[in-house]
C-alpha cells in the first residue's frame, strides 16, 4: 500500500550524522567550556555576561522553534509537517538549557546588586535567590511541557515503527512506547495529548519569557522599566526560533532532499519570517516612540545609552540592519524565498542580529568601563553553546524521522506528487 511505503521511507530517510560533525561540535563545546572557565579567572563579569547572553540566545532559539511546532499543531497546519518536526527536534536542547541555567545562581548577585543598591525599593522581589527560584521554576515548567508535547508526537512514530520492526530496539524507544496499545487507540490518545500540551506550552511561554526578560534583563538597570519589554522579548525569542528553524530546515533539505523539505515550505517559512520581522519591529518601535515622546529621563536614559551613544549605538543599529531591514528587503521577492541558500542567509542574518540584540540589552547595563567587551570570550562562549545545541539536536535527529508520518497524509501527497514529477528523495 502506498501510504505504508511512504511511512517506511520516512524511517529510511533518517539522516545520519557523520562522526566528523559530531566531533566538530564536541570540540566547539569543549573549547567553549574551557574559554568560559578561563574567563572566570580573568574577568568574571565579562565571562558571566557572555554566559547570560548566550544562555538567553540559544535557549530562546530552541524554545521558539518548539513554540512554532505547538502553534502549528493548535491551528491544524498542513503545509509543512517536516518543518514542524524540525522545530520539535530543538526540544532536545531544552533540558540542557535548563541545566545551563543553574550556574547563573553564582552570578545573579553580581548582576543585580548594583541596581538594587541604587534602587532598593523593590526589596525582596529582587533577592537573587528568589529570582533564581522563580526563573528556574518557569524554565522547568517550559522544559517539561515542551518535552511532553514532543513525546506524544514521537510516540506515534516510534510505536508504529516498532510494530513493524523498522528500527532496532533501544532503551529510548522502549521508554517512549511504554504501554503501547496499538495504532488506533494511540492515535487518538496522542492527538489528545498533543492538543493539551501544545495549549500548555503556548499558555506558559509568554508568562515565562516575560518574567525572564523582566528579571534577567530589565532588572539589570536600576530605574528603567517598559511594560512591553516582556512581550517584546517573547516575540523576539519566537522570531529567533523561526530563524533557527529556517537554518535547520535548509540543512535538512541538504540531507533528505527537496521532496521532503520542499521549496514551497521554505517559501512559507520565509513568509512567516517576514511577518514576524514586522511584528518584531513593531515591538521595538512601540517602545521607542512612547519613550521618545514622553521624554522622561528615567526611561530615555536606557534608550539613549544604547541607540545614540557610542560604542553601543553601532550594536543597536546593527541589530536593526541585520534582523529587520536587510531581511525585509530580501523577503519581498517571492522567488527568493524558495531558494534554500537565501532562506539560510536570512536565518543567519536574523540570528546574528538577535544575538547582538541580547548583547546590547544586557551589556551596557553591566559594563561601565570604556572598552567594548566583544572578543574571544564572547565568541568562545557562543561557540560552546553552539556545540551543546548542535550535539543535542544530533541526538534527536539520529533517532526520529524528519517526516512525521503521523501527519504524513499531507506529506505523502507531496512525495507522490514529486515522484510523479521525477524527483526522488535522497537515500542516505
Amino acid at each position: 500500500m502506498v501510504l505504508q511505503q511512504e511511512r517506511e521511507q520516512s524511517w529510511k530517510l533518517l539522516p545520519q550524522v557523520s562522526p566528523r560533525w559530531q566531533a566538530i561540535f564536541g570540540a566547539l563545546l569543549s573549547c567553549g567550556a574551557l574559554i568560559f572557565f578561563l574567563a572566570l579567572r580573568i574577568d568574571p563579569l565579562r565571562g558571566w555576561q557572555a554566559y547570560l547572553i548566550n544562555f538567553l540566545f540559544w535557549g530562546g532559539m530552541a524554545q521558539g522553534a518548539v513554540v512554532f511546532a505547538a502553534i502549528y499543531h493548535v491551528v491544524g497546519g498542513k503545509w509543512g509537517p517536516s518543518v514542524r518536526r524540525c522545530g520539535e527536534g530543538m526540544v532536545a536542547f531544552l533540558p540542557v538549557n535548563f541545566a545551563l541555567f543553574l550556574p547563573l545562581y553564582f552570578t545573579l548577585d553580581r548582576f543585580l546588586s548594583p541596581a538594587r543598591e541604587l534602587n532598593p525599593a523593590r526589596g525582596a522581589w529582587f533577592d537573587p535567590r528568589f529570582i533564581f527560584v522563580r526563573g528556574g521554576l518557569g524554565l522547568a515548567l517550559m522544559t517539561v511541557l515542551s518535552l511532553f508535547f514532543v513525546y506524544y508526537s514521537v510516540r506515534l512514530e516510534v510505536g508504529w515503527a516498532q510494530e513493524r520492526k523498522l528500527r532496532p530496539r533501544r532503551w529510548l524507544y522502549e521508554w517512549i512506547t511504554d504501554g503501547w496499545q496499538g495504532e488506533a487507540v494511540e492515535n487518538q490518545r496522542c492527538q489528545r495529548g498533543m492538543d493539551v500540551l501544545a495549549a500548555g506550552v503556548l499558555l506558559a511561554y509568554p508568562m515565562t519569557y516575560t518574567f525572564m526578560a523582566f528579571d534577567l534583563i530589565m532588572a539589570l538597570d536600576p530605574f528603567w522599566y517598559s511594560s512591553l519589554f516582556g512581550g517584546y522579548f517573547f516575540i523576539s525569542t519566537f522570531y529567533l526560533g523561526l530563524a533557527g528553524l529556517a537554518l535547520v530546515c535548509v540543512l535538512m533539505q541538504g540531507q533528505v532532499g527537496s521532496s521532503v523539505v520542499t521549496p514551497s515550505q521554505l517559501s512559507d517559512l520565509g513568509r512567516l519570517l517576514l511577518g514576524f520581522n514586522l511584528t518584531y519591529f513593531a515591538m521595538v518601535w512601540s517602545q521607542y516612540i512612547v519613550i521618545w515622546y514622553g521624554n522622561l529621563p528615567e526611561e530615555t536614559q536606557f534608550i539613549i545609552l544604547r541607540v545614540w551613544k557610542m560604542p553601543w549605538a553601532i550594536f543597536s543599529w546593527s541589530v536593526l540592519a541585520l534582523s529587520v531591514f536587510i531581511p525585509f528587503l530580501i523577503s519581498l521577492s517571492q522567488r527568493a524565498k524558495r531558494v534554500p541558500a537565501i532562506v539560510f542567509s536570512l536565518g543567519v542574518l536574523i540570528a546574528l542580529g538577535l544575538w547582538l540584540e541580547r548583547y546590547v540589552l544586557i551589556v551596557p547595563s553591566l559594563w561601565h568601563s570604556d572598552s567594548v567587551p566583544l572578543g574571544w570570550i564572547e565568541i568562545g562562549v557562543a561557540a560552546g553553546f553552539l556545540g551543546a545545541c548542535g550535539l543535542s539536536y544530533f541526538f534527536f535527529l539520529r533517532r526520529f524521522p524528519v517526516i512525521p508520518f503521523a501527519f504524513a497524509s499531507a506529506q505523502s501527497a507531496v512525495l507522490l506528487e514529486n515522484k510523479g514529477a521525477g524527483q526522488s528523495a535522497v537515500n542516505v
Binding site: 521607542y288 516612540i289 521618545w292 515622546y293 521624554n295
Partner: protein, 175 residues
C-alpha cells in the same frame, strides 16, 4: 454588434471540459482565447500561459511614492514654518515616520487598485460580445476568435471537449 467581432462562444458545465477545450484549441493554433468563469481557477491561467500580473509593480511604485510624499510633506512643512512643539526637534523623524508609513500604505493601495483597473481593462462601458449572465452563475465560457471559414473546425473542437452550447459571439442565448 455581432459583426464587429467574429468568434464563437462555447459554454461548458465543467472546468475540466473547459481546460481540455483550451488545450486542444491552442494546439490547433487558435491562440486568441478568452475564458469566462464565475470563479477564478489557477488552472485556467496556467492553461492560457499567462505571465505574472504586473499589478505588483503598481503596488511597489505606489508605496515608494507614498514614502517619498510622507517625508517631503512632513519635513518641508516643518522647515517652512518652524515651530517648537513639546520640546521636540523641528525635523523630528520618529513621528514623521508614522505619517510616512500611513501614506506608503495609502498610495500603495490606491495604485494597486489603479493597476488592477488598468490591466483588467476595467471599467468597461458595454458588456463584451462573449459574455452571458450564466458565466457569472454556474457555467464556464470560452470565446474563440476565428474567421467565418473556421467555424466548422472550431465548433467540432469545442463539441469534442464537451461544450454544451455554441453560439456566435454576440448572439443571445436561448432564454
Amino acid at each position: 454588434m455581432a459583426d464587429s467581432v467574429t468568434g464563437l462562444v462555447g459554454s461548458f458545465r465543467y472546468v475540466d471540459s473547459l481546460l481540455e477545450a483550451i488545450e486542444q484549441l491552442r494546439e490547433a493554433g487558435y491562440r486568441e482565447l478568452q475564458a469566462l468563469s464565475p470563479v477564478p481557477h489557477h488552472a485556467i491561467d496556467e492553461a492560457l500561459e499567462k505571465p505574472v500580473s504586473p499589478v505588483r509593480y503598481f503596488t511597489l511604485v505606489g508605496c515608494l511614492l507614498g514614502c517619498l510624499t510622507g517625508f517631503t510633506l512632513t519635513i518641508a512643512t516643518s522647515l517652512y514654518y518652524p515651530m517648537i512643539t513639546g520640546g521636540k526637534p523641528i525635523v523630528s523623524i520618529p513621528p514623521f515616520l508614522i505619517i510616512v508609513f500611513e501614506l506608503t500604505i495609502l498610495f500603495g493601495g490606491l495604485l494597486t487598485l489603479g493597476g488592477m483597473l488598468l490591466n483588467a481593462r476595467l471599467p468597461v462601458v458595454g458588456i463584451g460580445p462573449a459574455y452571458q449572465p450564466r458565466f457569472s452563475e454556474d457555467q464556464f465560457g470560452l470565446w474563440v476568435r476565428c474567421a467565418d471559414k473556421d467555424y466548422e473546425t472550431v465548433t467540432s473542437l469545442l463539441k469534442n471537449a464537451g461544450a454544451e452550447e455554441i453560439l456566435r459571439a454576440g448572439q443571445d442565448p436561448a432564454l
